[in-house]
C-alpha cells in the first residue's frame, strides 16, 4: 500500500473556492481525461472535536446532551464531519479525475468501531478506490479512516481503527468509461410504509447544517447557488438525513454499522416522511420519502454489535 501523504487539516471554505474557480476555468461537466484515482491516501492530524462543536451538533438535532457521563460517544455523523475536509483535500488534488463541484453523494457505509469522545486527538485518513462507470457519469468510493492521534497510520492494525466509512460519489456527466459499461438501473415500485415521523425542513436547513459541519457546498445553501449547480432548489446535505436517521439510536459503546443510500434529493424547504422499523433485536431499517410525491429520498440500516 502506498504510504499516506501527511497534510495540514484543510479549510473547507478555501477548497470550495478553489473548486469554483476551477469549474469556471475549465469544465463542470466536460469529460475528464484521467482514468485513475490518486494512489496515495492523505492523512491529517485532528486536534479533537470540541465541546462547542458537539453542542452545536446536538442542538441542531435535538439530541441528548453530551454530558460526559451518560453520553460521551460522539455520533458517527459528527466524526464524518471531522474527517470530511481531509476527504475533500484528496478530491481537490490535481490528479483526482472527477470535478469536485457537482459531485453527488450516492451512499455511505459506516463501521463505527470504537467510541470517540470530545477532545480526543485523532488522525483522519482519506483514500479513493473503485472508480467505476455509472449511467450518469462516473462513480468512485471515498474512504475515511479515523485513528487515535498517536497511532502510526501506515502500519496501524485494524484494532486501532476507531471509525471507517465508505462514501460513494457520482461525478455527474463526467464519462470516463463508455456508457454501455454502466449497469442499467433497476427501478422498483416504491410503496410508502407506515410513517413513524415527519421532518419539517425549513429553507435554512442546508445553511444550518453547513454552520455545524463547515460544509458550505453551494448546492445546499440557497436556491440561486443550487441552480448554478443544476438543482431546481437548494437540497439538504445527505449526511443531514443520516444524522437525523441515527439520532438517539447509536450505542454508547459503539461497534455498530450503518448505511444509507440516497435517491431523490430533498428539496428545501420541504417535508420528509420517515419510517423506522425494527427488523430484529439488532437491526433497524429506515426509509425517508416525500409524502406528497411519494418519491423515496433514502433508505438506511443500522446494525448493533
Amino acid at each position: 500500500m502506498t504510504p499516506a501523504t501527511p497534510i495540514e487539516l484543510p479549510d473547507l471554505g478555501s477548497l470550495y473556492r478553489r473548486a469554483a474557480l476551477e469549474a469556471a476555468r475549465s469544465k463542470l461537466s466536460a469529460n475528464g481525461t484521467l482514468k485513475a484515482l490518486p494512489k496515495a491516501p492523505v492523512v491529517a492530524a485532528h486536534p479533537g472535536i470540541t465541546e462547542d462543536q458537539a453542542e452545536q451538533y446536538r442542538t441542531l438535532f435535538a439530541g441528548e446532551a453530551f454530558d460526559g457521563v451518560y453520553r460521551s460517544s460522539l455520533p458517527s455523523t459528527l466524526i464524518h464531519i471531522a474527517g470530511f475536509p481531509v476527504q475533500m483535500a484528496l478530491m481537490s488534488q490535481d490528479d483526482f479525475p472527477l470535478p469536485l463541484l457537482g459531485m453527488v453523494h450516492l451512499s455511505n457505509e459506516v463501521h463505527h468501531h470504537k467510541p470517540i469522545a470530545v477532545g480526543t486527538p485523532l488522525q483522519m485518513l482519506a483514500r479513493a478506490q473503485n472508480l467505476a462507470p455509472h449511467r450518469r457519469g462516473t462513480q468512485t468510493e471515498l474512504v475515511i479512516e479515523v485513528y487515535p492521534g498517536d497511532a502510526a497510520v501506515d502500519t496501524a492494525g485494524a484494532d486501532q481503527l476507531l471509525y471507517s466509512s465508505i462514501s460513494t460519489y457520482l461525478g455527474m456527466g463526467t464519462y470516463l468509461f463508455s456508457e454501455d459499461e454502466a449497469a442499467s438501473p433497476q427501478r422498483e415500485e416504491f410503496v410508502p410504509p407506515q410513517k413513524t415521523g415527519l421532518w419539517t425542513l425549513g429553507a435554512d436547513a442546508g445553511r444550518q447544517y453547513a454552520a455545524v459541519s463547515g460544509d458550505y457546498n453551494p448546492i445546499h445553501l440557497t436556491g440561486l447557488t443550487a441552480k448554478l449547480l443544476g438543482q431546481k432548489q437548494a437540497i439538504v446535505h445527505g449526511m443531514y438525513s443520516a444524522a437525523r436517521m441515527l439520532e438517539g439510536r447509536e450505542p454508547e459503546t459503539a461497534g455498530h454499522r450503518w448505511s444509507i443510500t440516497f435517491e431523490a434529493p430533498i428539496a428545501l424547504p420541504g417535508k420528509v416522511a420517515f419510517a423506522a422499523e425494527h427488523i430484529d433485536e439488532k437491526t433497524q431499517r429506515f426509509v425517508g420519502w416525500n409524502p406528497r410525491k411519494r418519491r423515496r429520498h433514502f433508505t438506511g440500516e443500522l446494525v448493533l454489535p
Binding site: T196, L198, F274
Partner: protein, 429 residues
C-alpha cells in the same frame, strides 16, 4: 382497599363553558378562566373564607409568568389565602392527575378537602422568541460592559425575530397528534362512518344534557357564554360525511379523520371539589361519588411500536386487575374523545383477543363496552377540549351521573401527549 384508607368523596364540580379558540375567550388569560371556574365552585358550595387542604391543577400551554398559576388563581378567589396551591402538568391528563393525587391525599388523611382542576387557552398561548434570539438576549443580559452588550446584540438577524407559537407536534417524531392518531386509526381499521357516528352522538348527547338542565349545577357562565360554543345540536352523519379528511391525508382514500371527528382547539377551565366524608358532612355538602382509584400509563410510541394515544388501554388493564373488576361491572364509561378514532381504537383493542393476550398479558379480552353507557352526556368532540380542563369536566359530570346510585361504578380514560394516559374509577353514592 386497606382498612386504614378512608374514602375520597367527589362533592361537586364547576366549569366555565368551553369556547372554540380565538372566539369568545380570545381576550381571557388562563388565570382569568381558572379563577372564574374556582369562583363558581366557591359560590356553589359556600366556600368563602374557608381554608382548604390544597388546590391543584395546571395548564398545558402556560406562560412562564404563570409559574404559580393555581396559587395566583386561588388568591383571586374568596378562598382563605392560607389555602396552599400548586401546579401539576401531565399534558391532557393534567386535570385527572391533579384530582387523582388530591384524592389520594384525602384517602391517606393528609388533607380533608381539596379542589383539583385545570385550564387551557389556545387564544392566549405563550408565543416566545426563537432559541437564537433568546440565546443572544441572555448573552447581552450577562454582559458586564456596554461594549459586550452591544457586541451580543449585534448578532441579532431579522430571521431571529419571528415569533414562535407552540404546536401540537410530538418533539421526538415531528408528527402532530392528529397524524399519529391517523396511523393508529389506520392500523385498527377504524372506519370513517364509525368516527362520524361517534361525533354525532357526542353532539346530540351534550345538547340533550344541556336541554335537560344536567349542566345547570356544573357550569357557570363566562364572557357572555352559557353553553359550549362548539356544540352542534343539529349535527348529522350526512353533514359530517361531506367533510374532507384533515389528518392522514397521505393515506389517500383510506384517510378518515376530519375536523368534525377530531376535537377543535378550545379555551376553558374546570374545577372539582373533593373532601373526606366527615368534612363533607360537617359542611353539609353533597356526596356525589367516591374517587376509587386511578392508574397512569405510557407507551413506546417513538418508532411506532405502539400508537401515541393508546396508553389508557394498558393503564385500564392494570387498574381493573388491581380492583378485581371487569367492564361488565361499570354503569358508565367516559372515554375522552381526543379524536373519535381514539375512543374507537381503545375499545377495539380491549375487544381484541390478540391485543389483550400479547400486549396486556390477559387470558381473555377485556370485552366490549356498551355504547349506550358511553359518554352519555357528550364528550370532547362536542364540548371541546381545553387540554388540562378536560379531566375536571369528565369527573364532575360522571360523579353527578352516579349520584343516587350507590355502588355503581364509572370508568374514565384520558389519553395524553408523549404517549401517556390515565384511567380512573369512581363509585356512586
Amino acid at each position: 382497599m386497606a382498612e386504614t384508607v378512608r374514602d375520597a368523596v367527589i362533592i361537586g364540580g364547576n366549569r366555565i363553558p368551553f369556547a372554540r379558540a380565538h372566539g369568545a375567550y380570545a381576550k381571557a388569560s388562563n388565570q382569568d378562566m381558572l379563577t372564574s371556574a374556582l369562583n363558581g365552585l366557591v359560590a356553589r358550595f359556600g366556600l368563602q373564607g374557608q381554608q382548604l387542604g390544597a388546590v391543584a391543577g395546571g395548564a398545558v400551554m402556560k406562560h412562564s409568568k404563570n409559574f404559580n398559576l393555581v396559587r395566583e388563581s386561588v388568591l383571586g378567589t374568596p378562598l382563605d389565602p392560607k389555602t396552599p396551591a400548586y401546579d401539576v402538568q401531565m399534558a391532557c391528563a393534567t386535570g385527572t392527575e391533579a384530582i387523582g393525587s388530591l384524592a389520594n391525599k384525602i384517602k391517606l388523611g393528609q388533607i380533608d378537602s381539596a379542589i383539583g382542576g385545570g385550564v387551557d387557552s389556545i387564544s392566549d398561548a405563550p408565543i416566545v422568541v426563537t432559541d437564537e434570539l433568546r440565546s443572544i438576549l441572555m448573552e447581552a443580559n450577562r454582559a458586564k460592559t456596554m461594549g459586550q452588550r452591544l457586541k451580543a446584540l449585534a448578532k441579532i438577524r431579522p430571521g431571529h425575530l419571528a415569533p414562535q407559537a407552540p404546536d401540537t407536534g410530538e418533539p421526538r417524531t415531528g408528527l402532530s397528534m392528529g397524524e399519529h392518531m391517523a396511523v393508529t386509526a389506520h392500523q385498527w381499521e377504524i372506519s370513517r362512518q364509525e368516527q362520524d357516528e361517534l361525533a354525532v352522538a357526542s353532539h346530540q348527547n351534550l345538547a340533550a344534557a344541556y336541554d335537560e338542565g344536567f349542566f345547570d349545577d356544573l357550569v357557570t357562565p363566562f364572557k357572555g357564554l352559557s353553553r359550549d360554543n362548539n356544540m352542534r345540536a343539529d349535527s348529522s352523519i350526512e353533514k359530517l360525511a361531506k367533510l374532507s379528511p384533515v389528518f392522514g391525508r397521505d393515506l389517500g382514500d383510506a384517510a378518515t379523520m376530519t375536523a368534525a371527528n377530531s376535537t377543535p382547539l378550545t379555551d376553558g377551565a374546570s374545577a372539582v371539589l373533593l373532601g373526606s366524608e366527615e368534612w363533607a358532612d360537617s359542611h353539609d355538602l353533597p356526596k356525589l361519588a367516591n374517587f376509587v382509584d386511578y392508574e397512569q400509563g405510557a407507551v413506546d410510541f417513538v418508532d411506532g411500536a405502539e400508537g401515541l394515544l393508546m396508553a389508557p388501554a394498558y393503564a385500564a388493564a392494570r387498574m381493573l386487575k388491581r380492583n378485581g373488576l371487569t367492564f361488565q361491572d361499570f354503569e358508565y364509561f367516559e372515554i375522552h374523545e381526543a379524536f373519535a378514532s381514539t375512543v374507537l381504537a381503545q375499545m377495539k383493542a380491549w375487544e381484541s383477543e390478540e391485543f389483550c393476550k400479547n400486549k396486556l398479558g390477559l387470558d381473555a379480552p377485556l370485552g366490549s363496552i356498551d355504547r349506550s353507557r358511553l359518554n352519555v352526556t357528550g364528550s370532547s368532540l362536542a364540548a371541546g377540549h381545553p387540554f388540562a380542563a378536560t379531566g375536571g369536566r369528565i369527573i364532575a359530570a360522571l360523579a353527578k351521573l352516579l349520584h343516587g346510585k350507590p355502588g355503581k361504578l364509572g370508568f374514565i380514560s384520558v389519553c395524553a401527549a408523549g404517549g401517556q394516559g390515565i384511567t380512573a374509577i369512581i363509585e356512586g353514592r
